[in-house]
């Protein structure tokens, strides 16, 4: 269905109202929530690292320690880091929770992430050629891309990317800027010079490697191998989890793509429309949503990236009703179903052809 500019501007007004209702009431509740999250993250990180060393008492303590450290890393990256870096808690004026000062427990430098994710991905969501998060330059996920031989084994590429996800994220901007390989793309404006990009990439990466694979094993003395293995495992669990959540938010079967021509000089309403069609949600219990950093409500997150994420669940029914009213597909399903369609999509586009996923717009 095609929406007129008039309908799009009405859509924008309704969604703005949904947002304003939440944003006007931000206060103690949200502040308490995120501080409690921060406390949980700190406690699980510290106790996880201690329990791992106590693995000599019984290996179960080590297992428990690994789980706690993985939990700490997931909370740090998702419910705290991702959301704080979006500026969701900037209004609190707290230096520990401010988008400009926050740094997270992941190989990717926070400022680099903000440029590629907050700016590129969230502004140009699913516009082929502009949003490099669509397939990460590695996977062919729609027939907008020409088929190449390497797409044949892209399921393996995907599994490798998931395993090393933090490094993929960290290298993302350098890949886009062609810092090490490739010819610079015409028209791409780089705001940070290459030497600074390299410095941030190597600096942050080295600190993370040193912490998990040199510093903590060293102070663990005879338990160094257990600690090293535990840290490796915790990082792996976090990588698989974040990658899976993110793939379920953008690469499920019914997620649409857009062409650059469709979005040139688009209205705010059209931007909203694109965000709904470019994302997908999945369901689950409350703790599950927290572990995804509420990216299980990817649609709401893309509509309102600076709204404190704990509200996504409460505004989701309103957003769904509005989408229905305007006849916009609202892509939601169980986690397993959504993930199955992600894998199917990766496999389908491993081969040439495939159906078009470009959304209908006024300019189609």
């Amino acid at each position: 269905m095609k929406l007129t500019e008039q309908q799009l501007s009405e859509l924008a007004a309704e969604l703005d109202q949904v947002k304003a209702n939440v944003m006007n009431q931000l206060g103690d509740k949200e502040a308490r929530y995120i501080r409690r999250m921060l406390l949980t993250q700190r406690l699980s990180a510290i106790s996880g690292r201690i329990l791992m060393v106590l693995g000599f008492v019984t290996p179960w303590l080590w297992v428990f320690g690994v789980a706690l450290l993985a939990l700490a890393k997931i909370l740090d990256n998702m419910e705290i880091g991702h959301n704080v870096l979006h500026g969701q808690y900037d209004w609190m004026n707290d230096p520990v929770l401010h988008s400009k000062r926050f740094e997270w427990d992941i190989a990717c430098d926070a400022a680099s992430w903000q440029r590629t994710h907050n700016f590129e991905h969230h502004t140009y969501t699913n516009i082929i050629g502009k949003d490099r998060d669509f397939g990460y330059g590695l996977l062919r996920l729609s027939n907008d891309f020409r088929w190449r031989l390497r797409n044949l084994w892209q399921l393996v590429t995907y599994l490798l990317l998931s395993t090393l996800f933090q490094w993929g994220v960290s290298y993302h901007e350098l890949a886009g800027e062609r810092v090490f390989f490739g010819k610079k793309k015409a028209g791409r404006v780089n705001t940070v010079n290459h030497s600074e990009l390299k410095k941030a990439f190597f600096g942050k990466g080295a600190r993370q490697l040193f912490k998990d694979y040199v510093f903590f094993p060293l102070i663990a003395g005879p338990m160094w191998l257990w600690v090293l293995a535990g840290n490796l495992l915790a990082n792996l669990i976090r990588n698989l989890w974040t990658s899976t959540v993110i793939f379920c938010g953008h690469f499920t079967a019914d997620v649409h793509t857009f062409t650059q021509a469709q979005c040139e000089g688009e209205s705010r309403g059209h931007w909203y429309y694109r965000q709904i069609l470019g994302s997908s949600n999945f369901t689950g219990p409350r703790w599950f949503h927290i572990l995804t950093g509420h990216l299980s409500c990817q649609i709401e997150h893309h509509l309102f990236p600076d709204m404190p994420a704990l509200h996504y669940l409460t505004v989701a029914p309103q957003v769904q009703a509005i989408a229905k009213k305007y006849g916009i597909a609202y892509n939601c399903g169980s986690f397993l179903r959504q993930y199955a369609t992600v894998v199917a999509r990766i496999i389908r586009y491993s081969f040439p052809g495939g159906k078009a996923t470009t959304a209908y717009t006024l300019r189609t």
Binding site: A31, R32, R42, G87, V96, K100, Q114, F215
Partner: protein, 372 residues
């Protein structure tokens, strides 16, 4: 040599802290843990225990604080930034210290006194919350509006102080801190009516006890505005150019008296001023001035109401960091030091204190100071 070792160890500590906790200092990692039940304390500032509070007048609230030992003291006349957790957010405002340095030396306590402004977000929040507060966060004392009668290299024959309304606070701190009176001080204390005058009993007591101190209360509702120069020159013995001046009150008043005194040949260096009161509301005119500080350089921008600060900065030759330009990506966030901005997306008007703003959707609502 020592300096290079200390800067080297600072760098090492920073790297260590970044490695271990992804924070420039370990305090940022540990404070959410250690202070989990007392979020009132801002991680960048000193904590201060609230000892007592009381009303000096119907509108002026005094709060006695006991700063933590990390706080390094003050010179009478200085002010500090007080930070309060209000509805989940840290809000800050600066206040002059109104107690004497002797009380701090003996009891480690200071007093701040603030006029509760009917429209002031901070002062109202403070007045409402004060009875339940155990702690506040305070910055180091700052400012050069200070009085050091003994150590002054250019001795003045006398001192003239002019306070308007709550502008009395730093002056009362100065007066009550003088231990050794060597030259006369006259205080012109302008209030609408005498019941609005804070510290009046103490001031009268000092005037009765100390022959070198003269208090002149001016009730503007009764006798009109003070004409400072005329008032001073009626006394034949008094020489305008031999005195130093401390003016504390609304900006317009300070500017007027400063202008009058300079016209009479008083050297500008002998006049000290401190501006008080809420920033003038935004309706003063369509063009505001934004002072933009960028790595130590100061740029003056002419800010047109309703136009985003990002656009203005670019038009006038600055290049702030930006991203989406529609308020989504938070790339252009920067620190506003003072002044009010209008959020172009929501129409909300910000507070006057320091906070972070998004340049692409903020327009000047008053004169501003911004740090890029």
């Amino acid at each position: 040599m020592n300096k290079s070792i200390s800067s080297w160890s600072q760098r090492l500590y920073r790297q260590f802290s970044l490695m271990l906790a992804n924070q420039p200092k370990l305090g940022y990692y540990l404070k959410p843990l250690l202070r989990w039940n007392n979020p009132q304390l801002h991680p960048d500032y000193h904590s201060a225990r609230v000892i007592d509070f009381g009303w000096e007048t119907e509108q002026i609230l005094s709060v006695w604080l006991e700063p933590a030992s990390s706080w390094s003291g003050f010179i009478p006349g200085q002010h500090l930034l007080v930070t309060l957790l209000h509805r989940g957010r840290y809000i800050s405002r600066s206040f002059s210290i109104s107690s004497s340095s002797a009380v701090f030396a003996q009891q480690k306590q200071i007093r701040i006194s603030c006029r509760i402004q009917p429209e002031g977000q901070f002062t109202n929040a403070l007045a409402t919350a004060i009875s339940g507060l155990t702690h506040l966060s305070i910055s180091d004392a700052m400012g050069d509006f200070v009085f050091r009668p003994q150590s002054d290299s250019t001795p003045y024959q006398s001192t003239v102080m002019v306070a308007a309304g709550s502008g009395i606070t730093p002056l009362w701190s100065m007066l009550s801190s003088v231990r050794c009176w060597t030259s006369p001080i006259v205080l012109f204390y302008c209030v609408k009516e005498s019941r609005q005058a804070a510290f009046l009993t103490e001031l009268k007591l000092l005037a009765a006890k100390q022959p070198l101190f003269r208090l002149q209360l001016i009730e503007t509702a009764v006798s009109g505005r003070l004409d400072l120069v005329t008032e001073l020159t009626t006394n034949a013995d008094f020489s305008l150019s031999q005195a130093q001046y401390f003016l504390c009150g609304p900006a317009a008043m300070s500017r007027q008296y400063q202008h009058d005194l300079i016209q009479q040949g008083v050297p500008a260096a002998a006049i000290h001023t401190e501006l008080f009161g809420l920033a003038p509301p935004g309706s003063a005119g369509p063009v505001k001035q934004a002072l933009v500080l960028q790595q130590g350089r100061v740029n003056k921008l002419q800010a047109t109401a309703g136009v985003s600060l990002l656009q203005l900065a670019e038009q006038q030759g600055l290049a702030p960091r930006f991203g989406c330009r529609i308020g989504v990506c938070y790339q252009c966030v920067c620190q506003k030091k003072s002044g009010q901005v209008l959020n172009l997306r929501t129409g909300q008007i910000s507070g006057d204190g320091p906070e972070q703003i998004q340049l692409c959707i903020s327009a000047a609502h008053s004169d501003l100071q911004i740090e890029l």
